[in-house]
Amino acid sequence: MDQLIIAGKPYSSRLLVGTGKYKDFAQTRAAVEASGAQIVTVAIRRTNIGQNPNEPNLLDALPPSRYTILPNTAGCYTAQDAVRTLRLARELLDGHALVKLEVLGDPRTLYPNVVETLSAAETLVKEGFQVMVYTSDDPIIAKRLEEIGCVAVMPLASLIGSGMGILNPYNLQIIIENAKLPVLVDAGVGTASDAAIAMELGCDGVLMNTAIAAAKDPVRMASAMRKAVEAGREAYLAGRMAKKLYSASPSSPTSGAIAPIQNKVA
């Protein structure tokens, strides 16, 4: 069976989803279910002190017993803060070591700061974390993150939350060619075809949040994304035909057509 293997663990779904930007936990859960995702990202934030003590928690709607919860370092701009956040996350999730590292460079574009990312990755790998690392589509940085010991490399398709799709399929292709690790596109997916294209390029998986949560019908889009990732993967495994400018190779026989009638001018 064609499975996604991350840090030695197999997953049947190649679609990973975030849990942010939803209307409420019920919608989050419905969308996650429709997507078929087994791995879902969460953010780590200060708890509200002194407010409603009976407030439901996200992990009640998405229990760690059923899903692989992938804590992220969203909002971290330094390696130090990313490392602190993931240490807290590991404690929160009972020692679970699989994490998503992202260190951002600026709050407007949310583009990754790859220098801080490299530094955080080194520290985290030394501390025994299994790091799935969000990065730019720079093939040298992607390879360096692999060498540091990350368990998956996750280049952006385009800016977080932009929905612009894959802006540089050529860089992605180079990253995939060079990688011994799973490569997952993370950030910038907007609609189903973007996810399918990522998989057709040879990506091992796709991670998305806004594409689903900001759709007019998130649950329906989640379902579309599930199919898109499956279709793209199957097309990739099937081995597509070659692209040519022209082929002079019609699909129908060239011989045996009825003779064309020449119209005589009166």
Partner: protein
């Protein structure tokens, strides 16, 4: 009385108190949280023994929706 900064807000408590006792006063007992004290993780297993000191800075976090 000891002064603690919890999630950026200074608060005063009748000391001494352990982490576990603090969480009880904050109505967080039994909730899935993680706690950092002066930059170091306090493992859940040591909530009962760790005594908080005046001036401690604490971060108490939970999992929330995110991408």
């Amino acid at each position: 009385m000891i002064s603690l900064t919890i999630n950026g807000t200074a608060r005063r408590f009748d000391g001494p108190l352990s982490v576990a006792e603090l969480l009880e006063r904050l109505e967080l007992t039994g909730k899935r949280i993680a706690l950092e004290r002066n930059g170091e993780i306090v493992p859940r297993g040591s909530f009962q023994e760790q005594r908080l000191a005046d001036g401690d800075k604490l971060e108490v976090v939970v999992a929330v929706g995110g991408g």
